[in-house]
Subunit: 245 residues, 2 copies
DNA sequence: CGCCGACTTGAGTCCCCTCAACAAGAGTGG
DNA sequence: CCACTCTTGTTGAGGGGACTCAAGTCGGCG
């Protein structure tokens, strides 16, 4: 995100790309003005650590552009990704001074930051912010719980298939949802995929080639994946297809 | 929970056992009056299904007494428990007509139910309810994400150790937290434990006997567990002990 | 006593992990 | 341009941890 764009956002929230999905989605113009007074922008490079678990954190923030990942890890190096943060997603927790997870920028990231104290005060006065934050939290809770099923019970092949169809669902326009040959770009490295799915990079790699051998997908370079048989892929996710529609 | 107690709760929320922890925790007496108008009580027997994923759900509810479990499953029978609901925990989601998960009573359960439409209206008018629901949702989100680390990365032995120390933390008074020979009662069957930890009942059983052979715990009957070496057990959880304190 | 459900224990198998070598780019510097 | 390195990803061989299938134990209850 260029410095020019950020400069104009500082003055006016109305052209913000996440205006209608972020924590401020329900705010009217008066409320936006109050938010504007306490906001500031921050850029992070790909790979940079945004917060560390246990560290003091006096900000909360929305992701304006880029992708970040939430993770937890054990001292021996095992790491589990706990969530993927896309534009409009929220970082930090009102009412808590310590960061509960590690947050790392996957791509270059632009943040819209609020001082935590001021934001908490604002939430009291502006129910629209609290409402939206509740909605967003409940959505994340659902997503986390869906992921628990994957981590606890699915096979490696099912996990890969689930990830691919998840990315397709998010990234692709509804027009060709049923169409063949939808192409997606994996937003993250193999290592990040492995950490997301609770697998190793080798297993991820092997399962991707297995799906390719079986004719469900084809692979273009390291990151590109073409879904050649969408229905078969969904069948491989292991999900009860009566509800995923 | 006896019918007598429920009868008195219908009239007066102030003696409700979850008055200070449930979604109504922050309400003043006026607000409680409004809640009282739309509430009703419901009892479920142990083992009974409270909601089914995908089913229409026109209520939301707080657990007044008993234990219930949240789970998701795949058509071939694999099941993953997604959360344990204890008194004061909340069931259902404002703004959504379909139950997102299966909820099953583990013990006999008493629910304090609200019609969903009326509850949603109330939330608009009473920020205290919304505030509390947000806090509770964020706590559950943290718990779900902690569990993702366990499901994605921990060994069977670590999972069992984690569960035991979790139960001990919740159930036990802080007085003898460091003390030896704390006794806990497993609140659920081996099958439920397995579903919670993403394991099979056989593996759960084997790991429990392994911990017994190694002198960390001893087992009394099917449900009783005595922690003989608390520090060693915590060391086995795999958690980074610098933060769990 | 005999049955039933919950739990334990054993034997064998398989899936995924570990360790290791190899391939394909992308920079870097001469 | 090439040699070199570093990173990222693929592939193979082997081992181990958890699962599957099956039998056995224990306690409760009619």
């Amino acid at each position: 995100m260029t410095a020019d764009i950020i400069r104009s956002l500082k003055i006016d929230c109305s052209c913000c790309p996440i205006r209608h999905r972020a924590v401020c989605a329900k705010c009217d113009t008066d409320e936006l003005d109050r938010l504007r007074e306490i906001k500031s922008y921050r850029s992070c490079q790909a790979g940079q650590v945004i917060t560390l678990r246990g560290e003091r954190l006096d900000m909360v923030a929305s992701i304006v552009s880029g992708t970040a990942m939430l993770s937890r890890s054990i001292s021996d190096g095992r790491t589990q990704m706990i969530g993927l943060l896309l534009p409009s997603d929220f970082i930090g927790r009102p009412g808590r001074a310590e960061a509960p997870y590690d947050v790392t920028a996957v791509t270059d990231v632009t943040l819209c930051c609020f001082r935590r104290g001021a934001f908490e005060q604002l939430m009291q006065d502006m129910p629209h912010v609290q409402e939206r934050l509740l909605e967003m939290s409940l959505d994340e809770l659902d997503a986390a719980r869906d992921w628990m099923l994957l981590l606890g019970r699915k096979t490696a092949r099912e996990r890969i298939a689930s990830l691919l169809s998840l990315i397709l669902q998010r990234a692709n326009l509804p027009e060709d949802l049923g169409g063949k040959n939808a192409r997606i770009e994996l937003p993250i490295t193999r290592e990040a995929i492995a950490n997301y799915l609770g697998l190793t990079i080798e297993t991820v790699s092997r399962q991707l080639t297995a799906l390719r051998r079986d004719g469900l997908i084809s692979i273009e370079g390291a990151r590109g994946v073409v879904i050649s048989d969408m229905d078969a892929l969904i069948a491989e996710t292991g999900d009860d297809d009566t509800l995923t529609a």
